[in-house]
Symmetry: C2
Subunit: 71 residues, 2 copies
């Protein structure tokens, strides 16, 4: 699975980095964080889908996401 | 560090879960994924800030983010 178009807005990355305590954030840092988050989301998503199928569902629920993030 | 307001839009979570292969996604699944991503982003951000300070900078750069995501 690849992300052609970017899904998470860079402005959200800047807000999160400021919340983490950053004074200044470069544009490429926001893009790097977004890439890392999208990769993480796809990995979690694929696991969560497997868990939902395993439970006999076609709908991914929060419990699938939670199981995927804690394993 | 806590996220009071949510920074990443839920629509982005739905797009990423669909890219991962999900047929259907519940609202609470999107929220759970967002929470998990924001927590991950804050952890990465705090490490990246430490690395930027260590390099004598006040600006977080992509190299700090990359170091934080690979350690």
């Amino acid at each position: 699975v690849t992300t052609d178009k970017k899904d998470i807005p860079l402005a959200a990355m800047e807000r999160l980095l400021k919340k983490a305590g950053a004074e200044r954030v470069s544009e490429d840092a926001k893009a790097a964080l977004r890439d890392s988050l999208e990769e993480f989301a796809l990995r979690i998503g694929q696991d969560a889908i497997r868990y939902s199928n395993h439970a006999g569902r076609k709908t991914v629920k929060a419990e699938d996401i939670k199981l995927a993030t804690t394993k």
